[in-house]
Each structure stands twice: as C-alpha cells, then as structure tokens.
Symmetry: C2
Subunit: 541 residues, 2 copies
C-alpha cells in the first residue's frame, strides 16, 4: 500500500511541522542515553536526530502498518519478492540472505536449498584458492553490482591480505582503464576474473576480449589465466574458456551480491577464505537481528531506515550523506550509492503498479571519508540553504594499530573528536547577534554508528545493516527494491549508437532513425579521423 | 543585490513554469546546432537542457543585471573580492587568476606583481626539481584545498609522469592513512611535502609529527626529506626544518590553489615543470575567455553557471551530478564538490550581510565516472522521483592510445556511445501505455562538454572553466565564494573534545562545560582502555 495511505503517515506529517529544534535547549544528556540502540559490534546514537518519543512511536507504527517483518520473513524464506503487481516484472525470488543462513534450521526449505547450493560453490572455491595461489595479481572484470561492493569491502580488508596479493578492478569500458592496469601487472602471474551474472554485459564482454587479445599477443593461453562468475547457461558459462566457472543463482541481485561468489572469489583469493567466512558471519548475525528483533527502536537497520524516511519525507531533505571516519572505508559510500539509489530510486508502487506521485523515494546518497570532507563540502552542510542529514560511521580504535601520541592525544582520538564535534555542531549550531557569516543555524540532523574496530566481522555486520536498511525502506515506500528497469533505455540507445559507429567503421553509410536526430548529430561529431585510426587501433579482433 | 530583486529573476520564474518538455516532439536537429558553444579545446552541447531562446535571453539578462563581468574584472585585477558588507569578514584579495596572467600587459599593477611573485617561486621550483629528482616517492601531507585539486589533476596526468615517480596523499588524520602509505614507500628515497597555508591545520601538524618521528626512528634526518608550501611567516615557515619552503600568498584560497605552489610542486616533481606549464597555459586561456567573451551564450563558464542556476532556482533541482566519461578523471568530482560546495554553500548576501532566504544557493555536487555510474545510481537518475541535472564530460579519443577494435567498434566509441545515449535517454524518455515500470518520464536535463583528448592543456582549461563557473554563480547568487566560515564551529568543538582526551590521557579529570553534555557523553564512550593503550601507542612525541 502506498505510504501516504497509512495512518502513521498522516500523524507524521503533523509531527513534521513541529519537529524539535536541536539548536534549542534540549536535554541532550537525557536524549543521548535514550536515543541509542546496540546490536553485536555496532551502537547507533541518534540524540542528534530531530525526533521525540511521539515521533519515534509513529515511526514504529509506520513500520508495523507497512508490515515490514512479514515482508522481511518472505525475503529470508526466498519467496518471490522481486515483482510489481499489475506490471510485467521480473517475478523472481530474492536470495542474498538465504545463501548466508548457516545453521538456521528454522528457515524455509527453499532458503536451506539455496544455502546448500552456495556451499557447493564455496567448496569449489576452497579448492580453487589452492590452485590459484600462484597468481600475484587478480584483475576483476565487472561493473556495477559485479564489483562496487567487492571493491568497498576489499579496501577495508586490505590489512588482512595474504602476502602482497593485489586486486584490480577493470570496471569501465574506457580503454584507458584496462591499459593502466595492464601496465602495473605481469600478465603471466595474473588471474583474470570475469564477473557478469547475465554473461552479456557490454563492458565486460569488450574488456574480456581486450585482455584475451593481449594474452594471445604475449603467447599466453588465456584459458589458463581466466576464471568467471556467472549464472548457469549464460554465454560466459563455458568450461573450456576458463580455469573455473563459479555460479551465481538468479535470485542474487548484483548490488546485493557481495556475499555470493561475486565477492567470495576475489576476497578469498586475496585475503583467504577464513577472512571471508568471518565477514559472512558478521552479515549473518545482522540478518538474524534484522528479522528477529521486532522492536523497531532496537532493530538497527530498521531504525536507520525509519530515520531516513523521517528526514526524507517529513523534513523534506533531498540528499543523505554517509561519512565514515575511517580511511579504509574510502569506497564505501560509492557502494551505498548503488545499493540505495538502484534499489529505491523508483516511482512505481509495488502493490498495484501505479505511479508514486504523493511522496519522494530514495534521496541522492553521497559522501566521502572524514575528516577529509570537513575541509571540502562541510561548509555547505553547515551553512548551505538546504539541510543535509548525515550518517557518521566511526571506530574507537584504528585498524592498523600504528598510532602515535602527538600533542597529548592519539591521532585516532583526534579523528573521533572531529566526528563527534561535527555531529554536535550540526545539531546545536551557533547563534550570533551581529554577524550572519558566523551564524550556524544548527538543527541539522545526524547520527553516529560506532564500533570498536574495523574487523571482517564488524564490516560484514555493517554491510548487512545497509542491505536491510534498503529493503526496509523499500517495504515502507512500497517500491520493488530488487529490479533496475531504469537502466534499460540507456543501454538500448547506446547499442543504437554503437551500431552507428560500426557501420561507419566498416565504410557503410548510417542514418539514424528520424526521431533520433541527436544520434546522428553526436555520431558525426565524433567520426574517427581516418589518418589517426590506424595509429590508435592496435589490433582487430 | 539579492538575485530575487532582479527583473530577470521575475521573468525566469514565469518562464520556469512553462519550460519546454524535452520528451515532447522538439526539433532536436535545430536545437543541437543552435544550443552549443565552443572555446579552445572544449565544446559545450546543451540542446538537452530545458531551455528556449527567451529563457536563454533572460539568463543573459540575469548575468548582465548581476554585473558579472565587472566583478570578474575586479577578481582578475586582484581587488578585494573576499568580503561581505555589514559583516566582519576576511576582506582579502582573490588572486588565483592573477598568478597565471603570463603575458597579459593589460592587467592591473597588483595582478602583474602577483604574477611576478609567483614567477620567483616557479624559479625556486625549477631548481628544486633538480635537487629532488633523486626521490622516487613523494608524500603530500595536506587536506582539503591543499590536496584534493592536485590529486584530481595528478590522476589525469599520470601518463605524463617521469619514470615511475609516485605521489601519495596523506590527507587524513586517521593513523591508518599514513601507516598504509608508509608501508608502500622507502623512507630513504621519499620526499615529504607538507602543505598548509596557515601552517596550523590540525591534521597536517599531527601527520607531520607522525612522519618526522618515523624518520627519526629510522635514523634519517627529516630536514633532508621534508619540504613545505605555506604562507610567509606561518608556523611552518622555518628553513631549518625543510629542504625548501615555497610560499603561497594570502590571496590564494585553498580550493582555488591548484595553479599555485600547492599544485605546482607535486605535479612538477612527478610530471616535470613543462607539463605543469602546459596545464597552466590551458588555465590561462580559459581565464582570458571567461573575462573577455562578453556574450554569455559564448562564454563557457558563464553559460555553465547560468544553466546551473536555471536548473537549481527555476526548475527546483536539489543536486547536480558531474559525470566524466574518462577513467583518469575518477577523482575529478571530489574536487568539484569542494570547489562548488565550499565556495557557494552559503546563505549570507554579500551586498548587505543579510540572510538569503528567498532562493537556494549551491546544490549538492556529486558523481563518479561513466560508464560505471550507469550500473549504479543511474536507475535513480532515470526513474527516481526527483530530477537530477547532469553535466557529462567526454573525449573523442582515449588518453593512452591503446584501444582495440572489438566487435566492429573501438572501446572508446562504446564509451562515447554510452555517454551520448544517456543524455538522449534522459531528455527523451520513453512512454509506455501499459507498464509503468518501463516508463521513463524523460524531460530530465543534461549537457555535454566534449574535447578531443585529455591533455595537460585541455585539463587546465577545464579546471579554470569550473573555477570561473563557481565565481560566476557566486556573483549572481551574491554570496562571498571565497571564505569558509562554515568550517569553524566544527574545528572549535573538535578542539574542545581533543582537549578532553588530552586531560584523560594525562590522568587528569575532565568535565565538559554543562551546555556541551554530548561532549562528555562521547568522550566517556571512547575512553582508552588502559591495558590496550600501550600496545597501540608506539611512541610518545
């Protein structure tokens, strides 16, 4: 049901008009002890959100009215959750939690089957890790869901690498991308991991060919250097072309695929399977919490989702900044952009296929690591004309344990002090009587997620937190978080243009359909200059 | 004067209500030939913006009414442009264009003096490059304006490096950041470049000490390995501590400092001074264009600024995505976030110090490179509930000239085809009668900046394009684009918290002021656990 039809929506609209002013004299001592929740390694502090008890009660009602736990149970049980009533849609199950339900006897038959299929792949991976240990570098060819999450996670797990193994991501059809990677590796000691669920992604296909040509030029047999992750029977599923083919089930969506072979193979090859299993344990722990903790105020991903909706729909904030105070998490928000915006950047109601015009769905999700952002865009967060809610993520201790005491404090303490200070400054602001330029309006919401240390387990729990955060928001907005029809039109038009280039390259004439006069315009702009073509094009496939 | 008091503002408000619908049957052939502008290496295509001739005429009027060319002339002439009437403010000159005004006889005496001061530093740099050529790695310690722009530029210029020189950026007080860099370099062949205009930035100071301690531990004399860029007489300005001290004038703001010694030293050390000079030439060329091309429809940075204001203030778009279709530009948008949001994320009117409540200023600026974003957040751009204007940046040819012909087209052609296709898809959309999930509303604005190839000169022109874009928008919104008061409160509160940690580390008690009860709360949360302190803290300074 559309969110605006719920009783809690109406209540919250009223409450939104008299939301508390964080820059007024609130009792933050009381709020801080009251507005927090913990699970596993993570604690969530939200005294600096613009909420009161009645607001939180109505957000809880919103969750109940939207029946979020029944929907989450369906997801965990591997029921068909990727659908829209009244529209032709993918009608698929959604299984990223099922594959990590180790030891969960109470799960559905289908979920246990998914777990057992996954376990087979994990066994293959265990053997493959031995065979592939000889490779020093691994190049992942994959884009979007096939790499962003893995890259974010890998950056956090770098200190756990075995030896000096390096992982590269060739995520873009831009020829400069692959070329710059190839300049850094020795092809003979490199494994190429091609990742595409459909096995037909344009970028992946073009790059695989590009690299196979290079291997051939160097008289190396590419099938001794290539492995892949794909769906069974996809165009990539060809054992003779690869050392190994790892399977991905149709119920694993790209942006939710880090725990599948998409993440498992590259992480296990660089950090070892044990580290990946610790990470999975952390995810599983948060999965269980998301489903079983029925009090929304204690359920971390649901709490996050509800506060996000409060800021988005009732306080009218257009964007959401996620700012981890940890250098290792420098790619984290890029994965969240995908996870949030591809899942819930939607406008079709799941219940009946109608357009949602009554409320906004996913905001723009952005951010980089702190303290760097403080010296960049924080000016706008503090004094810009629009309010930007912030989620801070921090750790009590540094990851590498190589801190120093400088001027009486460790640098990790300086880092934490900055994170806390920003949250407080955004909330409290600073009033001045005579200088508007030093006026900080305050009353800008944020919250903090805090853990002891960035370990594989803690990281897994955090990733699952966001996966469920997104699912809960989708349940409440009543959109289908699991498809991505919005990327199809661009693909189609790009193929038309590529077809145009192909015609021209082959010396044939090409005229774009009349309704696509811009195609013709841009094609002609960028015709290859005949004399230069030979220099640039090293090889014909 | 506040923008809303201008006649053109009122006209544009009316026009905003009947802006053209890009998904209707517009004559895109005509629009494409009409709505474009070129200068130097760059052409700007904007037929896919929601504009008409009357709208463009009124945007031109807006520029004239806001007197943007007089203001730009003042900036170039090094007059005091960093001020707010009626508020105590920095009252400084703004000189980032003056230092690159080579050969410009018509400039003011002050500007020529600035250029000549800069030339002295360049001469020092030329000599220093020879002396420092022995270093294989360079670590820049700097944050915000002292590194983001340089990093964005360096990533684009990597193919022009001399030999295998590597540049690292220790941009965060997070101890993991420096530690992970130190693991990659040999201290004995590393130059540390400390960059801080004020010479008192917390992060920079803490990291400089951290590294000097390491040099001492390794029995290396740090003054033989350290150089710095700072303002004369800052706490860093100490010749005995550094191989060389490069000066930055007070009229160079951090986010506008790439062309100063902040960018010159690291780029010259890695790529050579000639490459940096090519880059400067490109900037200078765009400076001249921004000032001298008085037709706003032909003045690229002004045209960009006006379209940005059209989308922001009259079509009510909250964010602005900049998406380069070039892997080398993967840090570009992070610099733009800073440049745009720190400059114009403001709410105080420059004319009289009053608060601007009548219109919004800087939007959130975000984005990553294409085609990667297509597999991530584009879902939301195409089908989300809010409209996100996009600036695409592309090149006809790849930078590294190592392309292949695959399936009848080069990968660069595939890359370009995708960029063009996205712009067209956003504009045209796709109507369906029976499936809302395949409905693309279209009418979503974007434009394309296109050049032949990513060279130092082209890049310099592009960076200056954005610097002037930001300045023009600031002139029109009537905010002071050149200060950053909004970062002060967070700094102050962080220092309070750091003071708290220091007290506790020293075994003294600490009680935060009563109005800062959250300080106390967070401090107590993160007290060092006594047993672990020794393990983590390697060294006392």
């Amino acid at each position: 049901m559309k969110m605006n039809k719920l009783q809690s929506f109406k209540n919250l609209q009223k409450l939104g008009k008299k939301a508390p002013d964080l820059s007024a004299d609130l009792d933050f001592n009381l709020r801080a002890s009251r507005f927090q929740a913990s699970h596993g390694p993570w604690t969530f502090y939200y005294s600096t959100e613009r909420v009161t008890d009645p607001i939180m009660e109505n957000l809880c009602l919103l969750a109940r009215e939207a029946d979020v736990f029944r929907k989450m149970q369906n997801l965990v049980d591997l029921k068909v959750m990727n659908y829209i009533y009244g529209c032709p849609s993918e009608n698929r199950r959604v299984g990223h939690t099922a594959i990590r339900c180790e030891g969960c006897k109470e799960h559905s038959h289908d979920a246990l089957k998914a777990y057992s299929d996954y376990s087979l792949e994990m066994t293959k991976l265990e053997q493959f890790c031995q065979k592939a240990d000889k490779f020093e570098s691994i190049i992942v060819i994959g884009i979007g869901g096939s790499y962003l999450g893995t890259k974010a996670v890998y950056n956090c797990l770098k200190p756990f690498r075995k030896g000096n193994k390096k992982l590269y991501f060739a995520s873009n059809v831009d020829p400069d991308k692959l070329t710059s990677i190839v300049l850094k590796v020795k092809l003979s000691s490199t494994l190429v991991l091609v990742i595409s669920k459909s096995g037909s992604t344009l970028e992946v296909h073009a790059q695989e060919k590009f690299l196979r040509n290079l291997y051939q030029e160097h008289h190396l047999k590419s099938s001794d250097h290539f492995a892949c992750v794909t769906e069974k029977n996809s165009p990539l599923d060809s054992k003779s072309d690869f050392m190994e083919v790892f399977y991905l089930q149709d119920y694993i969506g790209g942006r939710f695929s880090v725990s599948s072979m998409v993440g498992a193979v590259p992480i296990a090859l660089t950090c070892g399977l044990d580290i990946f299993r610790d990470f999975l344990q952390g995810m599983h722990n948060m999965d269980h919490h998301a489903l079983e903790e029925k009090n929304p105020l204690q359920n971390l991903p649901l709490l996050g989702a509800l506060l996000g909706i409060w800021n988005r729909n009732f306080l009218n904030c257009d964007t959401f900044a996620v700012i981890p105070y940890s250098t290792a998490m420098n790619k984290w928000t890029l994965h969240l952009q995908q996870l949030f915006m591809e899942s819930n950047g939607k406008q079709v109601c799941k219940e009946d296929g109608s357009l949602i015009t009554e409320y906004d769905t996913c905001p723009v999700v952005w951010g980089t690591v702190g303290t760097e952002g403080q010296h960049s865009y924080y000016q706008c967060i503090h004094q810009g004309t629009r309010v930007i809610p912030v989620e801070f993520v921090g750790f009590k201790e540094s990851q590498l344990h190589q801190d120093q005491m400088i001027d009486g404090t460790t640098n990790q303490q300086k880092l934490l002090a900055n994170m806390f200070a920003q949250s407080i400054a955004l909330a409290r602001g600073q009033k001045t009587s005579n200088n508007n330029n030093r006026l900080f309006p305050g009353n800008r919401p944020s919250h903090i997620l805090l853990a002891d240390e960035l370990s594989p387990y803690t990281l897994g729990a955090l990733l699952a937190y966001y996966e469920h955060y997104v699912a809960f928001q989708g349940f409440i907005w009543d959109v289908n978080s699991f498809d991505q029809e919005g990327v199809q039109l661009g693909k189609l038009l790009a193929n038309n243009l590529i077809d145009g280039y192909r015609h021209i390259n082959e010396g044939r004439s090409y005229v774009a359909p009349k309704e696509n006069s811009l195609n013709q315009f841009y094609l002609e702009l960028t015709l290859p200059r005949p004399r230069e073509r030979r220099r640039e094009t090293r090889k014909s496939a």
